[in-house]
């Protein structure tokens, strides 16, 4: 049924800490590893070793550059993005087959791979890019909140957590019940000012993001200026030696610099 169930008391989801995420992609690969062998059919890759490698991933980590006011140096924020298990998701209601559904008991949003016709409409309805179509199986794939781990009695109790949460080396991903105000995750959200992505879209995401903390003094200071060449004999000697030794490489580095300066603007 693609009509939404009445709101559940239990709202399982993730809380992602943008302060501690280091963009190592451990959650991305562990998600792929677990989900390629579990719940649905494998998460296909097409030409994985070719020039145009692509594939289905349920979790991806973006990198953003944030320029703060009054700061010379911008900071990099690593930004994991997976399904937010929204409370009022149009990805579910647009589905013509009932393959997309939201579980009444815990709010997890899933796709039934046995009934999905692969019309892709649900991926158009998701503002967060959380649904990826699998060309080789002709069905839609998305984060399952590791529903086959969190209730899995064959696993040790401490392993009944999403694969991505278990894998994160900095503890930047937290799993829990966001419907329970006393849960650890809810408290974390309250303490750190966790927020929703695109709240104005009205999808009411369950997953929350914890903003990066304010900079500490050390990183606030301007980068120490590099000594400028003063045109002395020593300088000229170094320039000459540099040219002689680096040859072609120097131009490659120069183009790298061009590229990074473009991103600044």
């Amino acid at each position: 049924m693609t009509s939404l169930p009445p709101p559940s008391a239990k709202k399982l989801g993730l809380v992602i800490d943008l302060d501690t995420c280091v963009g190592c992609q451990a959650c991305v690969t562990s998600c792929k590893e677990w989900n390629t062998q579990g719940y649905s059919e494998p998460l296909t890759d097409t030409t994985p070793y070719g020039a145009d490698a692509s594939g289905v991933w349920l979790n991806r980590v973006h990198g953003y550059e944030v320029k703060e006011q009054g700061q010379d140096q911008s900071r990099i924020v690593h930004f994991p993005r997976s399904c937010l298990h929204c409370e009022t998701p149009a990805c579910v209601t647009v589905c013509p087959t009932g393959a997309s559904y939201k579980r009444a008991e815990d709010g997890i949003v899933l796709v039934n791979p046995e009934t999905c016709i692969g019309c892709k409409l649900c991926s158009w309805a998701c503002p967060y890019g959380a649904r990826e179509y699998d060309v080789s199986h002709g069905v839609m794939k998305k984060c399952t909140l590791c529903v086959d781990r969190i209730y899995n009695e064959n696993l040790e109790v401490e392993d009944r957590q999403p694969a991505c949460v278990k894998a994160c080396p900095t503890g930047a991903r937290h799993f829990g019940d966001l419907g329970d105000a006393d849960s650890k995750v809810s408290q974390l959200v309250a303490e750190r000012g966790g927020y929703d992505l695109l709240p104005e879209m009205g999808y009411k995401p369950v997953n929350k993001y914890l903003p990066p903390r304010a900079r500490r003094d050390a990183t606030n200071q301007k980068a120490e200026a590099l000594p400028k060449p003063d045109g002395s004999a020593f300088d000229r000697l170094f320039v000459w030696a540099d040219k002689l030794l680096s040859g072609k490489q120097a131009t490659v580095r120069a183009s790298d610099l061009d590229h990074s300066s473009k991103l600044e603007g």
């Binding site: 490698a53 692509s54 990198g63 320029k67 924020v77 149009a90 647009v94 013509p96 016709i117 158009w124």
Partner: protein, 309 residues
């Protein structure tokens, strides 16, 4: 949005088919039985043929066409499901109307009620199709109150020109077909221009800062994409046609529609030109539908480097 050719073919072809069907229904209400069996049968075959080609091509782009029947189940919440139900349901009055209107079955008193029923169902189906797009809040250009009227006008205008073209083949071309055709084309041009104006002036007020929530710290720009080559999201949702190119195509659509209107007027002197008018309108339909997709920006592009959406 990536313009998938199967979807463009589906919506233009079935749109013209449903428009023709609706107008044939009204012709039946007004004129009673078709003036000849062959004219009636041909017109119905063209209408149902266009509709059927469209519906079949829409199932080709599915990952699992053999499961398509499941799409009839969720009409309570899904416009795509409603479209499927309406599309199939329309065959019932349409086939019955075709039989009695063309004279294959002699039942003149049934022509008018079945004609109305067919016309209503045909337009309901077209509006369901348009609703699939207009209810997606993730795509600003589609989530617009002119989306449904434009779809309906396109369907009726291309249908009217089809009717004129078929009539001319059977020597039944009449002045009222010109009047209706030109009127519908004028309405269509006005609606489409208003639509473009609306999407051009509608502020793109979602920003990358909103999407990431990082606006609370500062100005955000993309530093690194999460993968080495384009993924599904970028291929499907990241397609946006260049503005200059789009402007050219918009002019082409309007030009083709104006030429179709002129051709229809010229058909008063030489009815065969009505066929040219129908072809011009069909071509306009294809370009317009391509633009409808290519000009639509999805809000997810904000996560992939778009500054605003």
């Amino acid at each position: 949005m990536h313009p998938a050719y199967s979807v463009i073919l589906f919506t233009t072809s079935s749109g013209a088919g449903y428009g023709l069907l609706a107008l044939l229904g009204l012709v039946g209400v007004n004129h009673g039985q078709a003036s000849s069996l062959w004219f009636g049968v041909t017109a119905m075959l063209v209408a149902l043929g266009l509709v059927t080609i469209g519906l079949l091509s829409s199932t080709f782009h599915l990952g699992h066409p053999e499961r398509a029947w499941r799409a009839f189940s969720q009409w309570r919440s899904s416009w795509l499901s409603r479209e499927g139900v309406a599309a199939v349901a329309t065959y019932v009055p349409a086939l019955l109307f075709g039989l009695v209107w063309s004279g294959l079955i002699e039942a003149p008193s049934w022509v008018a009620p079945l004609g109305i029923f067919t016309a209503v169902m045909a337009m309901v189906t077209v509006c369901c199709t348009a609703k699939i797009y207009s209810t997606l809040t993730t795509i600003r250009a589609w989530n617009n109150r002119l989306t449904v009227p434009v779809y309906a006008a396109f369907s009726l205008a291309t249908g009217a020109l089809m009717l004129a073209a078929i009539s001319s083949l059977f020597g039944r071309f009449q002045l009222f077909q010109v009047i209706i055709g030109v009127m519908l084309l004028v309405i269509l041009i006005a609606l489409k221009l208003a639509y473009w104006r609306a999407i051009d002036t509608n502020p793109r007020n979602h920003t990358m800062e909103d999407a990431t929530g990082l606006g609370r710290i500062g100005r955000v720009s993309q530093w690194e994409v999460p993968h080495t080559s384009e993924n599904y999201i970028q291929k499907e949702m990241g397609y946006v046609v260049a503005r200059r190119h789009a402007a050219k195509l918009r002019r082409l659509v309007i030009l083709l529609l104006l030429l179709a209107a002129l051709a229809l007027l010229a058909a008063i002197l030489a009815p065969a030109i009505a066929i040219l008018a129908a072809l011009l309108a069909a071509a306009a339909g294809v370009f317009e539908r391509w633009l409808f997709f290519a000009e639509a920006q999805h809000v997810v592009t904000l996560f992939y480097g778009a500054k605003a959406a």
